[in-house]
């Protein structure tokens, strides 16, 4: 404790000297001559450092104070109890009462968003699969067709498989485009 007191006294002494002697002296020097800028800055920082040291010391003393400690401890406990009650009330309201009046909860919304996201991904995957299947089929067909026509020996296997069928160009889906009878 005596160490703490002597440190505080030391800090206070430094601050007092910096704020009441060094700083005014440097300010006067700056006022009287134009080359006192550096000294004024140094004195200012010295005062600031001493003040910071004092402020740190004050906060440490506050933490060590039993009265502050017990108030802070009680404050934390009360805050947590309030948080618990708020938590319980919120879960009661949003868990049962909220859906009862037909409004979705945040969890419902998150669930829906996740479902939509999953569906989108599924759709994207299906589309990608369909496109790749189409392109493979087209490539095979074109290869076989060319081999059969040209008698390419390397594609003999393809020529055997090709049966002369050539698919029609894809038609647009029914209802996809409305036609008008004239």
């Amino acid at each position: 404790m005596s160490n703490k007191n002597s440190k505080t006294g030391d800090d206070f002494g430094k601050f007092f000297q910096a704020a009441w002697f060094d700083l005014p002296a440097a300010a006067a020097k700056r006022f009287l001559s134009s080359d006192g800028e550096g000294a004024l800055r140094d004195a200012g920082w010295k005062a600031y450092d001493a003040w910071i040291s004092l402020a740190n010391d004050a906060s440490n003393r506050m933490y060590a104070n039993p009265t502050f400690g017990s108030i802070a401890g009680r404050g934390i406990q009360t805050g947590l109890q309030v948080a618990r009650v708020v938590d319980a009330v919120a879960s009661a309201i949003f868990g049962n009462l909220w859906p009862a009046i037909g409004l979705p909860t945040a969890t419902d919304m998150q669930g829906l968003r996740a479902d939509v996201k999953a569906l989108r991904e599924e759709l994207r995957a299906v589309r990608a699969e369909a496109e790749s299947t189409d392109s493979i089929a087209d490539e095979r067909h074109d290869g076989a067709y060319a081999a059969a026509r040209g008698g390419d020996s390397e594609s003999a296997a393809a020529a055997i498989i090709w049966n002369g069928y050539k698919p029609e160009p894809k038609r647009s889906r029914k209802g996809g485009k409305k036609s008008v009878a004239l």
Binding site: Y48, S59, N60, M62, A64, G69
Partner: protein
């Protein structure tokens, strides 16, 4: 006038950064980490640990280092910037380094205590290194909370550790030289129970609040004025930015380990008394028989030096000592002095004991 404008500007940026950190849940999103300075490969992942392997270009030492990082912040501070990286320093000294990257716990992980972290995750990670490297033992280097996990692991699994280095370890919590500890004493067990009842784990914002409360003047004003005073220094602004990012990378602490840490270790000091149990087994520090280097930061204002210094007296090792270094808690891993002097000394100590005959 520039002083007030600049400091106000830095303060505003700091406030935005804090709000952003609150918005993303502090360090719970691993993707928010800055890009790594030293390349690594994730070699193993289990439970709540992911193990990074940093490979030395010119490996000299046979035994790899398993670096155990704290649970409450992201580990990128160990590899912050080129030239200011502990990992880089050890690699240059010819060690292969494995770093634990603890995965933030979710509400479902509230059951996780020291048993899960030490006897499962850390034990599995060390086993993975043994298999990967084909070695019987590893060097274990722990920092802060990670040093505590390392000590417990070494006491419970001494056969796997060749050398142990503890850095800024919160060991003897009977020391009450930091005023913040006195404040923590006033938070009773029922409050801790309430926290775990409401949130499951100790939330990241609460961890952050504790760090801020340890030095409120520094966080409210001092660091911004420091930024103004050092703005002209080469690389200071980048370092400040990275450092602030790390300061707001707090990670939630799993409910059970939070309970054990605050009650059994912090308040009742059971580890020092020899009564602390992990997984039903009492931790006997006399089981730690490998060489021990206990690194203590002289100016540490997070873990007071007095709570780290008694460790060597309590272990069973013959080769044991304290190494004090004039730096702060975080300076021990990021300051130029620590990178240039402390870590080469730690590396040298490990290198001298990298021979199988040094087994105890």
């Amino acid at each position: 006038m520039s002083l007030f404008n600049d400091v106000a500007g830095y303060w505003f940026e700091g406030a935005v950064r804090t709000l952003d950190a609150i918005g993303r849940g502090f360090g719970s999103q691993i993707s928010a980490d800055p890009p790594p300075v030293t390349p690594y490969k994730v070699v193993y992942e289990t439970g709540k640990v992911s193990l990074r392997h940093y490979r030395a270009r010119n490996r000299i030492h046979a035994t790899p280092i398993v670096m155990v990082y704290a649970l409450i912040k992201r580990p990128f501070v160990m590899d912050l910037q080129p030239g200011k990286s502990v990992v880089e320093s050890l690699l240059k000294q010819g060690f292969d380094v494995y770093l634990t990257d603890w995965i933030p716990p979710t509400k479902e992980d509230a059951w996780r205590g020291f048993d899960a972290y030490v006897n499962q995750d850390l034990a599995n990670a060390v086993r993975a290194v043994q298999l990967e490297e084909n070695v019987d033992r590893v060097h274990v280097v722990g920092y802060c909370f990670g040093a505590l996990l390392s000590l417990l692991y070494t006491a419970l699994h001494p056969e796997n550790v060749r050398n142990l280095v503890t850095l800024a370890i919160p060991f003897d919590m009977g020391a009450r030289d930091l005023s913040f500890y006195n404040l923590m004493d006033r938070v009773d067990d029922s409050s801790v129970e309430l926290i775990t009842k409401i949130y499951g784990n100790c939330p990241a914002w609460m961890v952050n609040m504790c760090f801020t409360a340890m030095s409120p003047i520094h966080h409210a004003l001092g660091k911004y004025v420091g930024m103004y005073r050092n703005a002209e220094r080469d690389g200071y602004a980048e370092m400040f930015e990275l450092f602030e990012r790390w300061m707001s990378s707090d990670v939630a602490l799993a409910g059970q380990i939070f309970r054990e840490m605050t009650g059994d270790i912090f308040k009742r000091n059971l580890l020092v008394k020899g009564e602390f149990k992990v997984g039903g087994r009492t931790v006997d520090l006399k089981n730690v028989t490998c060489p021990l280097l206990n690194v203590v930061a002289d100016l540490d204002d997070v873990v007071h030096p007095k709570s780290s210094l008694p460790l060597p007296e309590k272990v069973g090792s013959v080769d044991r000592r304290n190494l004090t270094f004039p730096t702060g808690h975080i300076g021990a891993v990021v300051s130029a002095g620590a990178i240039n002097k402390l870590w080469p000394e730690v590396g040298g100590w490990l290198a001298d004991r990298d021979r199988p005959e040094s087994d105890n």
